[in-house]
């Protein structure tokens, strides 16, 4: 990765200060400025991420209540969780929430990118407006939908019952067990699909037009050009965006917390909200962290795979 130019100052300084030759060989030609510039990040990552993370791992192996010193219990918290019905349900719900959201976001994102690369006018206007849900504060969007879903005064029931007359009476979208999960998933999709669309759009624009020309000359129709040119061309971006969104969606706290707080009766309880409730409702910190960290091995695999793809993209 070291470019020849990165060694330039090293070479100039070698003549000036013979004594630092050894240091430079070991620490690299630009170690002074490099260390100076990167030091704040190192401190920050250590203090705000690495240390708390290590401390969290430790706490998850203890019985810890707020304001009381932790007591070492080994893997007790994890073992108990494994057989805990609430936790099992939250894990299942988290997977349903994540896969339900991500799969629809993927489809909508591809569709959005495809229509935005077609021969339409006002392209940048459409692109700009479609991005708004992604930019607007999540809390605002969640509160908007809370209001839209409202049983008696909400506009969704008004539209379905009074305007389109497809339902005889309103639905308690967030208060009925069989509609609550779909309703929170819909909000996550609404907020997240523009990110898929805009990323795929950037990827599609980067595909050389000649590839499409060549495919067309060879007699490929639109569908074949999509399968043979577009999809392979955006494959890496698709992988990155799907993995990134999987992490974000799995850990989405706000939408579920504001819309249902995990209810009704645990129907939408997901891991981040359960973590919060055990930590700050029940004040059992050790157990709460064990909830958050239980699936860490899976998260770590996703992060490592994703980081490899992202670094490859950046080093391009």
């Amino acid at each position: 990765m070291a470019t020849p130019a990165a060694r330039l100052p090293g070479r100039a300084a070698l003549d000036r200060r013979e004594a630092t030759v050894g240091l430079r060989l070991v620490l690299g030609p630009d170690y002074r400025l490099g260390f100076l510039f990167v030091a704040p990040i190192v401190l920050l990552v250590l203090a705000l991420v690495a240390y708390p993370f290590g401390y969290a791992m430790y706490l998850s192996l203890t019985r810890k209540y707020v304001g009381v010193p932790p007591v070492w219990v080994g893997f007790d918290n994890y073992v108990k969780l494994t057989w805990d019905g609430f936790f099992q349900r939250a894990v299942a719900n988290s997977f349903i929430f994540t896969f339900g959201s991500v799969s629809v976001k993927l489809l909508l994102g591809v569709a959005m990118a495809l229509v935005l690369t077609s021969r339409i006018r006002f392209r940048s206007f459409f692109t700009g407006v479609l991005l708004i849900p992604w930019v607007a504060p999540t809390v605002v969007s969640a509160l908007n939908f809370l209001w839209i879903y409202d049983y008696s005064l909400g506009v969704l029931n008004y539209l379905l019952v009074r305007v389109f007359r497809v339902l005889p009476q309103g639905v308690g979208w967030l208060s009925e067990a069989n509609t609550a999960m779909a309703s929170v998933i819909a909000v996550n999709i609404w907020r997240g699909f523009p990110f898929f669309g805009i990323s795929f759009l950037a990827g599609m624009k980067a595909i050389p037009a000649e590839l499409y020309e060549a495919a067309a000359v060879d007699g490929a129709g639109p569908l074949q050009r999509f399968w043979r040119v577009t999809l392979p061309g955006i494959k890496n971006i698709v992988i990155i965006v799907v993995l990134l969104s999987t992490i974000w969606t799995f850990n989405d706290f706000q939408i579920v917390y504001i819309l249902t707080k995990g209810g009704p009766g645990g129907a939408t309880q997901v891991i981040p909200v359960l973590t919060y409730e055990i930590a700050f409702g029940a004040q059992r910190l050790g157990e709460a962290i064990a909830v958050a960290l239980y699936l860490l091995p899976a998260l770590a695999v996703v992060i490592i795979v994703l980081a490899r793809y992202m670094r490859r993209g950046q080093a391009r």
């Binding site: 990167v38 077609s118 706000q254």
Partner: protein, 277 residues
């Protein structure tokens, strides 16, 4: 010529029309609700236009609630943590993208992995950390904590940006006698200014929208930030939709303003900078 286009324009317009309604409607609904009277809202008349248009909701929001204090808190926290994150991130990104020193590759990975670690697994120990520092229940605690997600993001974004600036420019400056730092300050930084500004605005919107840390770290009602403050209207008063939506409108405006500037960068895929593959 445009073989790139795979979808017929008519199909595109139809799909975009539907998508546009779905995307815009919640914001439209939020805005008209903010201007409706309590009576109108309860009687389900003239659902899609305020009749009469009233400012009562805004008056109540600004006069009788802590909204203004929350707004100030949010501005203070978001601006401070953005400045810190942009300064640290810019220097770090430059050194990770361009300088050659021991541990560079490791730190690049560390930054990326930090960016990917979700707040939902960090918030409890981070809260303990902030409390140990004596910063619990203070805006300073949030300003200290927010760089944990804004700095990795800004750094990652700008690493890609610095790499896209031709290295020859720096070489030329150094051949003319500039030091490495001089070349960075006089040549590279001005060229990177649009990217730095964009990254800063992203950091600002992230800090502005942050919810979980603000919910956990702050207990004093007056010290809440907007997202937590707004959502607290829900538990307090079930029928406060009018002023809740007025607050939602005012919370969205700064982000939309930042975004209007950012749009061209987003469309060019800088956001995705992180995700260009």
């Amino acid at each position: 010529m445009k073989r790139r286009a795979l979808v017929e324009p008519a199909v595109s317009y139809a799909f975009l029309g539907v998508l546009l309604v779905v995307v815009v409607f919640p914001f439209y609904w939020m805005t008209i609700t903010a201007f409706k009277s309590e009576t109108q809202m309860r009687s389900l008349v003239s659902m899609f236009w305020p009749d009469p248009v009233v400012l009562d909701n805004f008056r109540h929001l600004l006069g009788d609630t802590d909204f203004l204090a929350w707004f100030k808190n949010s501005v203070f926290v978001a601006v401070s943590s953005t400045l810190v994150a942009t300064a640290i991130g810019t220097l770090g990104a430059y050194s990770l993208a361009r300088l050659s020193f021991l541990g560079r590759a490791f730190m690049s990975s560390a930054v990326l992995i930090t960016y990917l670690v979700p707040p939902s697994i960090l918030f409890i120990p981070l809260y303990a950390q902030i409390r140990n520092l004596g910063l619990a229940d203070s805006l300073a605690g949030l300003i200290a904590a927010y760089p944990s997600f804004t700095v990795p993001f800004v750094t990652w974004l700008l690493m890609g940006y610095f790499e896209s600036i031709p290295i020859e420019l720096e070489e030329a400056a150094m051949i003319d006698g500039a030091t490495r730092f001089g070349a960075f300050r006089r040549v590279i930084l001005p060229l990177a200014a649009p990217g730095v500004l964009a990254a800063g605005l992203y950091a600002f919107t992230q800090a502005w929208n942050e919810f979980l840390y603000a919910l956990v770290f702050i207990t004093d009602v007056k010290l809440r930030t907007l997202p937590v403050g707004l959502s607290s209207f829900i538990t307090g008063d079930v029928y406060g939709w009018g002023y809740l939506m007025a607050g939602a409108v005012l919370t969205t405006l700064p982000v939309i303003a930042a975004y209007t500037y950012l749009q061209k960068y987003m469309v060019e895929g800088l956001t995705a900078g992180s995700v260009k593959g």
